[in-house]
């Protein structure tokens, strides 16, 4: 009678190693799996992007036809478009929330959240993130933040309207304008959750990259995507806490009557008691986050395109080390340039000069990257997949938007250009369009990995050309408006004689925006249709080298069915002379590619060099 089996070791087990049947909720909703969380981030990000894009179309309509009535708007927007015209307060809300959502919710969370989660474990060869639970928490905080941000459209006084930079006193005095009331409070609550989400996520990314790489994956064998996500996460970790400090002080000014940022104010005929505060202090704290934030937005896009351009040029990335060092350079410099947003705050001219120099130095690593992209393309065997088109589009925007940065970074020129449409044009090209193109490039390229199916290529091209031409038509003319001194965020161009001549240009811009907006329908249809009905993807559709393409198409928990592959080489062995294929995955050891090995591949390993030399002597001639 010894049929009773008592298992002692079954007790005290962490849930870690368990493989239990997943329920719908644990698989699709509160999932800890990095692949599912990536998809959650992506789809939420796409939703937020469409929302923010519709906001932009709304204020573009106001800018193009300031004196015309559109009764349909009143149907949808009620009192905010009474008589069919966007109300001035609502116009401010529209630009504020458009900026906030695009910068933070789409290009920070949507971009980093999606691709860091998807690619970090895949490309470094890990089963999942360091802490799947924290990862899940990060997504759900982001989700709640998104819901609160959108919910601010449903409060009586309307959403926040002090601009995405929420400068006090406008943001700190609830009675200042309608948007400074409940809407601003909701904005702050949403952003606090958002920052928490980003910090938790960022800590997880860095920790995963530094601790969980597979055998052989040393730092200099990491794909540039991983380098970019790594440095982005570091920038976020160092800068977002500063925003928290700024916001904490702002909350106390708003709700508890302190005077960190407020002084000498008369609002609606009433003298406020606050004295001695400095609104410039907020700007310093805000831009200490705000400037690194634009690199948080653009660096992952640069990482994704590095990978896509190399793969689709069938060439190693030009200057791998230079690419990494320029990312590091951008990371470091991003923390010492914030003052260039504040040249006109009465800053000491000497200090302005210092910030000008540090700012202009960023042109060096940026130019290194731009030239390296072009050198990678140069005489490559280019495959114009939709992802590749978007990657090249990023390079185009990065250059044309980056050039105007040289003007704005100049303390003297900035006095003229500050707060004009020139600035709007600059950052929409260099960080807005460039990053969104990097994100779309990533979506097209890694879609097969995410959903196991391919997206439609023809719709991809349609989407690319409509967006690419549309973006240039929207943002390029704005440079000229800015040089003419037209200020941003103004409600009606017809109110000022010197701006009136620009209304016709505004009409062109708005039509371009509408057409480009419609172009996104091609993407949305393609994206959601292909999830269910797209062509089934092969395991490695782009003949790519990185580890994610060695996993099965069907998603499994832990990514690889057997052992995690070992890494033997860098990720850019494309078109290596002597090899029978034009790509060699990272997991292929040198012993299997004797015909294409170079002596310098062995990094000074004399034994390997000797074996290779002997092999060469026997087989080559």
């Amino acid at each position: 009678m010894s049929s009773t089996v008592i298992s002692h070791s079954a007790e005290h087990h962490d849930s870690h190693g368990h493989h239990h049947q997943e329920s719908f909720i644990s698989k699709y909703i509160f999932s800890g799996d990095h692949k599912m969380i990536a998809k959650q981030f992506l789809i939420t990000g796409i939703f937020m992007a469409v929302f923010a894009m519709i906001l932009s179309i709304l204020f573009r309509i106001q800018l193009a036809w300031p004196d015309k009535e559109f009764p349909i708007l009143e149907v949808f927007l009620g009192k905010w478009a009474a008589g069919g015209r966007i109300a001035p307060e609502f116009f401010l809300s529209l630009v504020t929330i458009h900026g906030t959502i695009m910068v933070f919710f789409v290009l920070t969370a949507g971009l980093s959240g999606t691709f860091s989660n998807l690619l970090i474990p895949y490309q470094i060869g890990a089963r999942d993130m360091a802490s799947p639970f924290m990862n899940m928490l990060s997504y759900w905080m982001f989700f709640v933040a998104s819901v609160i941000m959108i919910a601010s459209f449903f409060v009586e006084s309307g959403p926040a309207s002090a601009g995405w930079t929420i400068y006090p006193p406008l943001s700190a005095v609830p009675t200042a304008i309608a948007g400074s009331a409940t809407g601003m409070t909701l904005w702050l609550v949403s952003m606090v959750l958002f920052v928490a989400s980003q910090l938790i996520g960022g800590i997880n990314y860095v920790s995963t990259i530094l601790n969980m790489r597979t055998k052989g994956m040393d730092l200099w064998k990491m794909p540039l995507t991983i380098w970019a996500f790594f440095l982005t996460a570091i920038v976020g970790m160092l800068s977002f806490p500063v925003l928290v400090s700024a916001v904490v002080l702002l909350i106390f000014d708003r709700s508890f009557g302190t005077s960190f940022y407020l002084s000498d104010l008369v609002v609606q005929g009433q003298i406020l008691p606050n004295e001695g505060g400095s609104p410039i202090l907020f700007q310093h704290l805000f831009w200490f986050l705000g400037h690194p934030e634009v690199y948080i937005v653009v660096m992952p896009a640069l990482g994704l395109t590095s990978e896509v351009i190399s793969t689709n040029s069938r060439k190693p990335i030009f200057g791998y080390h230079a690419m990494v060092y320029s990312l590091i350079g951008i990371t470091v410099l991003s923390f010492i340039v914030w003052g260039h947003h504040m040249f006109v705050t009465g800053m000491n001219p000497f200090l302005g000069g210092v910030f000008m120099i540090t700012t202009l130095i960023i042109a060096v690593p940026s130019a290194v990257k731009a030239f390296n992209y072009m050198a990678t393309l140069w005489r490559g065997n280019i495959r114009f997949t939709p992802a590749m088109m978007f990657a090249i589009g990023l390079v185009s925007f990065f250059i044309s938007g980056g050039l105007t940065g040289l003007f704005l970074g100049n303390a003297a020129l900035d006095i003229n250009l500050h707060d004009t449409y020139f600035v709007v044009a600059h950052f929409h090209l260099v960080m807005g369009s460039a990053s969104i193109f990097g994100m779309l490039c990533g979506v097209y390229h890694w879609y097969p990995k995410m959903f196991g199916r391919m997206m439609n290529t023809k719709l991809g091209y349609l989407h690319f050309w409509m967006t690419f031409i549309g973006a240039y038509l929207v943002f390029f003319p704005m440079h000229f408006m800015g040089i003419d001194g037209v200020p941003r965020r103004y409600y009606a161009f017809t109110e000022f004689a010197f701006m009136e001549k620009w209304v016709s240009v505004n009409m062109l811009i708005t039509w371009a925006a509408i057409v480009a907006g419609l172009g996104q329908v091609a993407f949305l249809f393609n994206f959601f249709y292909s999830i269910f009905f797209g062509e089934r993807a092969p395991q490695n559709p782009w003949n790519s080298n990185t580890l994610e393409w060695t996993t099965p198409v069907e998603h499994i928990h832990g990514n690889w069915p057997g052992e995690i592959p070992t890494v033997h080489r860098w990720p850019y062995d494309y078109s290596k002379p002597g090899h029978h294929e034009d790509f060699i995955p990272q997991s292929v050891p040198f012993s299997e590619t004797m015909s294409s090995n170079f002596l310098h591949d062995f990094e000074g390993n004399e034994e390997a060099e000797r074996i290779q030399t002997e092999w060469d002597a026997q087989n080559k001639k």
Binding site: M237, V242, F260
Partner: protein
Amino acid sequence: MLNQGEQPTDEKLVSRKAQKFSLWLGMLGMFMMFAALSSGFIVYTASGVDKGIKTLLPDTFIYSTVVIVLSSLTIHLAYKAAQMGNLARQKALLFVTLFLGILFFVLQVHSWEVLASRGVYFVNNNASQSFVYIFTGMHLAHIIAGVIVLITALVGVYKPLPADGNQFRMNLASIFWHFLDLLWIYIYVFLLLNQ
């Protein structure tokens, strides 16, 4: 070592290493927040001769400093006890740490009363004085988090977790608690230099 049980797997060790590393990164982030407040304080205080703390810091800050340094000592001893497998001793020392943590909290709040009784209020047109409340208040928010960490460490002893799990949890808890201690000392010294 006593009460070792089965050896943790490699995968678990990697995951623990990553978790511990995450804690360090998190503390870096928290430190950045206080660094931002410090620079905000410096910039603000430099903006006029009427700015600055303009009062002596309450003596209770000295007592709270002693208390939190003592608590660092007790949690260190608790961690040592966990390593020796002496659960009763670990439990007792954790309770002492928890008590000292709460005492610290009470002393800090009492310091606010002392400041308020001198007319140094939080709502103040000299925001340098408001900053004193912000620094201590934000630190107390972290102390609350630290107390939660201590409680989870205690729960780990009561459950009880296997020895290596318990030690790991104690290790993280003690690192975090030492960080809170050092953070307070940084804030205190910073404020002393500016009083």
